[in-house]
């Protein structure tokens, strides 16, 4: 690629988000804003019981209502609408039994949302209650009620998956370690709480197919699921993603169900059908971050060298598998923390219960285990009379180290730099001393705590990791970019635009990204695992480079020189005669030569292998390293915790979109703050107790601490311009840092999230009287 006369013009420079304009104008059309002539409204009948056999289902009373146009059950789908990956255990509409409160049983399409609801309420659905499993520690008991299907492999029906990591001889190490500590932790479910709820819109096409608009994260998965469920060839199903009001991992499964339900209803009625979830329906029916129970044992030498980590995790997958086998795997990989060990023995087991099913949520297993292991590190530091920073520095993974899993870390390992930076910027040492002194004689106490993390980039050895992008210059010299990746606010569209602009040497304003659309994009796997920047970014980079090459050829021809003699100066091309030619002229010349001004790019992640049985291998091809420090004020008279400051030091390889990267850190910390302090979820006998924002408290503006961000750039050679990612790592350590700070302030180690007033003041939680009513009522709102 011909050199530029300047450094990077667009990548890493301040840039506006490319889709912000329509959002500040209020003209962005989210799903609920799309209304079409003749459109029907759909609503699902959802189970009021956490576990039951469907004894009788009679939809005719609903069909008798004049404004109800169609009702579907799982009979309207191929193979009962079964779907799910990696375990195909879910259904577009429940088959024979329901497994959680909110499980969809039938769907109604009617003239108005009120009529659809009336239709739902008219359906005769007799459920025969089955005994439930609500406590994850009882799910594998011999006499546990059976949630999952019978298994041929002899495992318990409620067993879903086991993920192990094995190195050295953990038992022997624990025997000889100078210090051994054991502790038990738990993390709750967490609700994504995107401001826009789930939904789908399906439009039947003249050819007997269907176009779906859905706020899903993975349009191709949605298309394939719907095609499979409806028995249509994939070419007849098109999935388009409109602007999405937040996702954080949460807009997969239930959105696929909504899409299939709307598609089936659309084909049956011949009319567009739209389903929008109410907030209560979303909270009750949609999947959550899995709850986990964790038992951790660490052994160390008395000089602070870590020797061994034994970790047992029990992950509540709830009613269906969804992503839990993958979450459990990622949790197992990260459970020991970003440290060197002589031995590890990690086992994370996922089980079924009759709580709402769990699926992907930002961090995907790492926030959960990080909460446990990072507190263990602090407990160990206390035991050894070491500063928590020093303990981490001593054991932190460094360039050239091997992960306990066996993989050598060859590049972009900056954990020590992150620790040093966080220590210095937070004024750690002085505060550790002074707060301890202050706390001895004050009821309002101060604390400062740290948490470190590593986070494997992209899908890891879990899956096929590839991406494709297309780019073309249209006749008006607009540059049209497509990607299989979706942007639900995290900024991937802007990242791709900046990369394309940089490689092509044109201003980002010339670039339009099409909406993710199975008709125009190249399938690139799901937009998850913070993989968009590297996978999608590389694909975009390659597509742009291919197009650039065409322009370079045209320029060389026009300027009568070799490609190697070309120089770029902003948007112009300059040949040996030093006369700048605008790139539009180059494009025009290319056309006149008969060249196609379009290209594709495909990128495959480096090949990595994980031995699932041995628990060893290379789990990810790259890692994000980071540290967060939290400073808190704890009122020991009331139990109130206020987070005053957070210092976040993240190495993301290369910052492509600065405001986007910062926004991800701020937003991730906010979610971590809620996870830590206020987002309480209780399932009691399978009934969710918090069904709207009145009871489910996500952080509000006045609760935000001062946040001090330092972004380090230790380039990853495989990343576009050296970039890695930041979306998920931003929230991984926040809760642990806060818990460690609270322990420093109060002397109380809080092992269960969220850190409630009661836990701080009393050392335990209180439970308000539980009710099934909120959840049941929520299904009809």
């Amino acid at each position: 690629m011909s050199p530029s006369r300047h450094g990077a013009r667009y990548v890493g420079q301040p840039a506006p988000r490319v889709d912000a304009l329509e959002k500040v104008l209020g003209s962005a059309r989210f799903l609920a804003d799309i209304t079409l002539p003749g459109m029907l409204h759909a609503r699902a009948l959802r189970s009021r019981l956490p576990h039951a056999r469907i004894k009788r289902l009679d939809v005719s009373p609903a069909l008798a209502i004049p404004s109800v146009h169609a009702v579907i059950t799982n009979d309207d789908f191929i193979d009962h609408g079964s779907y799910g990956f990696p375990v195909k255990d879910d259904y577009m509409l429940a088959h024979e039994k329901v497994r959680y409160v909110g499980d969809a049983i039938a769907a109604v399409a009617a003239e108005t949302p009120e009529a659809a609801l009336a239709g739902v309420q008219a359906i005769i659905c007799e459920l025969e209650p089955l005994p439930i499993v609500s406590d994850v520690t009882q799910a594998l008991d011999d006499d546990a009620p059976q949630v999952g299907p019978d298994r041929a492999d002899g495992e318990h029906p409620n067993f879903l998956s086991r993920s192990i990591v094995n190195a050295g001889d953990a038992a022997a190490e624990l025997n000889v370690a100078d210090v051994v500590l054991q502790d038990e932790f738990s993390t709750p479910h967490q609700e994504h709480a995107y401001l826009e709820t789930e939904g789908a819109l399906a439009i039947p096409t003249p050819e007997g197919g269907v176009v779906i608009y859905c706020s899903n994260q993975s349009p191709f998965i949605n298309r394939d699921n719907v095609a499979m469920a409806l028995g249509l060839p994939p070419e007849l199903v098109r999935s388009i993603q409109p602007p999405v009001g937040g996702s954080f991992g949460g807009k997969d499964d239930l959105n696929y169900e909504a899409s299939a339900q709307c598609a089936a209803l659309a084909l049956k009625t011949g009319r567009p059908v739209r389903m929008i979830f109410s907030r209560e329906e979303s909270m009750v029916a949609s999947y959550k971050r899995n709850a986990m129970k964790m038992w951790v044992e660490v052994g160390a030498q008395k000089d602070g060298t870590l020797r061994v980590c034994r970790f047992r995790g029990l992950l509540d997958s709830g009613a269906y598998a969804s992503e839990s086998p993958f979450t459990a795997w990622r949790a197992s990989i990260h459970a020991m923390g970003a440290y060197r060990y002589a031995a590890v023995d990690i086992d994370v087991t996922a089980v079924y219960t009759n709580n709402a099913f769990s699926g992907a949520f930002r961090g995907f297993g790492n926030p959960e285990v990080n909460f446990a292991i990072e507190q263990m590190m602090d407990e160990l530091a206390t035991k050894l009379d070491m500063d928590p920073m020093d303990l981490r520095l001593q054991n932190a993974l460094r360039l050239g180290d091997h992960l306990p899993h066996g993989q050598k870390l060859d590049e972009s390992v900056s954990l020590v730099q992150c620790l040093d930076a966080a220590r210095q910027k937070s004024d750690w040492d002085r505060k550790r001393r002074e707060f301890a002194r202050h706390n001895a004689s004050n009821e309002i106490k101060k604390g400062i705590g740290v948490a470190a993390l590593f986070h494997g980039l992209s899908l890891g050895a879990e899956g096929a990791d590839y991406a494709g992008a297309t780019i073309r210059i249209d006749d008006n010299n607009r540059i049209i970019l497509t990607s299989g990746f979706t942007d639900y606010g995290q900024g991937s569209r802007t990242v791709f635009t900046l990369i394309a602009a940089e490689v092509l040497g044109v201003r980002p304003e010339r670039i339009d990204m099409l909406r993710p659309d199975t008709d125009t994009a190249i399938e690139s796997g799901p937009t998850v695992a913070s993989r968009a920047t590297v996978l999608g970014g590389n694909a975009t980079r390659l597509a742009a480079a291919n197009l650039r090459h065409t322009l370079d050829l045209a320029a060389a021809d026009l300027l009568g020189c070799q490609v190697a003699q070309l120089v770029r100066d902003e948007e112009t091309y300059i040949g040996p005669e030093e006369r700048p030619i605008p790139w539009e002229d180059i494009a025009a010349h290319a056309r006149s030569l008969g060249l196609q001004l379009s290209a594709q790019g495909r990128w495959q992640a480096p090949s990595i292998h994980w031995d699932h049985n041995a628990g060893r291998g290379e789990p990810y091809f790259a890692y994000h390293f980071a540290v967060q420090v939290a400073e808190v004020t704890v009122d020991m008279g009331t139990g109130q915790v206020q987070v005053d400051d957070i210092w976040a030091v993240h190495d993301l390889g290369k910052v492509i979109f600065p405001q986007g990267a910062e926004g991800q850190v701020y937003g991730g910390i906010a979610q971590g703050l809620g996870y830590a302090l206020s987002e309480r979820i209780d399932y009691v006998n399978g009934y969710l107790q918090q069904t709207n924002f009145d009871r489910y408290r996500i952080p509000t503006a006045p609760e935000m601490p001062r946040i001090h961000i330092t972004l380090l750039e230790d380039a990853l050679s495989a990343g576009p311009f050296g970039a890695k990612n930041v979306a998920e790592p931003a929230m991984v350590p926040t809760a642990a840092a806060i818990a460690n700070a609270v322990a420093h302030a109060s002397g109380r180690r809080i092992r269960h999230l969220p850190i409630t007033l009661e836990q701080v003041l009393l050392g335990r939680n209180l439970m308000r009287p539980a009710t099934a009513d909120r959840a049941r009522r929520g299904l009809l709102l």
Partner: protein, 288 residues
């Protein structure tokens, strides 16, 4: 077919006339935030909404001789922007300021807060401290009730179907009276009160406590003065040991009123702490 009709009378008289119609089940709308939540969850138990949120007679904030009059449709925002109330009852203004979020403060009305009488209604403790009375109007005439008599239990008051709560009236506090309002909630934006305390106090020339009002909120089924706490304090010198004893007394009163609740284990130590802090704040201030 709408589930109910809506009418917005222009005067209080018109309102009372509408309410006097026996064949219509009417519901008054002032702020409306409680009504809207209720409508979401249950079918309406009324045929007609009467919107009194903009009635001029219900929008006054005024001093009449030694009394403060606040119209029932006055919003929390209007309370906290009132120079008169900021000057005379800053702790009452503080309660309004801590109602969660500008939207709710702009819309919610003091009359609605009282008539809805939620157990955790924030404005009630300061008003009880201030010995507030409520004025009720109907076609039959007017009557006044002490606020504490008006509220029977959470979500039930002695308002009659044909009545409108028109005003809240309380005597202007004496000079040299200090007052505080403390709110403890789950978060800084404390939408669901877990404990509030409104308290007023004054010392005499010898420095002894000569006047005391102590009203916790979200603590007992009915908002009321904890007179046992007040009596413990009267005549004494305001010192930390006294405040500690007052805290114990407050807890004793709470337990007597509520028995054991799911939240008692938390509220006991928290109430103890907040009582001491409230008293320390009152008696270290120079003036209101």
């Amino acid at each position: 077919m709408p589930r109910f009709t809506y009418i917005r009378p222009q005067t209080l008289d018109e309102t009372l006339h509408l309410l006097a119609q026996p064949q219509k089940r009417s519901r008054l709308l002032a702020g409306g935030t409680d009504l809207m939540i209720r409508l979401r969850y249950a079918a309406p138990d009324f045929d007609r909404i009467i919107d009194i949120s903009r009635l001029p007679e219900l929008k006054i904030i005024a001093r009449e001789e030694d009394s403060i009059h606040i119209g029932a449709s006055v919003t929390y925002t209007e309370i906290l922007e009132s120079a008169l109330l900021q000057d005379l009852t800053p702790f009452f203004v503080a309660a309004a300021r801590q109602i969660a979020g500008p939207q709710i403060r702009n819309q919610g009305s003091i009359g609605g807060n009282i008539v809805n009488a939620a157990g955790g209604a924030d404005m009630l403790p300061p008003l009880v401290c201030l010995d507030a009375t409520v004025q009720l109007a109907s076609k039959q005439g007017q009557r006044s009730l002490l606020l504490t008599d008006f509220i029977e239990q959470p979500h039930r008051t002695r308002i009659r179907p044909e009545e409108v709560l028109t005003r809240i009236i309380f005597p202007a506090p004496q000079p040299e009276t200090n007052a505080v309002f403390i709110k403890l909630g789950r978060q800084r934006t404390k939408a669901i009160s877990r404990i509030t305390i409104a308290a007023m106090g004054r010392t005499d020339a010898r420095g002894r406590i000569s006047f005391m009002r102590f009203v916790p909120g979200a603590i007992a089924p009915r908002v009321q003065r904890f007179t046992a706490v007040e009596e413990r304090l009267l005549g004494e010198l305001p010192l930390p040991e006294l405040f500690r004893q007052a805290g114990e007394e407050a807890v004793r009163v709470m337990n007597a009123l509520t028995g054991g609740r799911w939240s008692s284990d938390y509220k006991i130590p928290a109430l103890r702490t907040l009582t001491q802090r409230a008293l320390a704040a009152i008696f270290s201030l120079q003036s209101i």
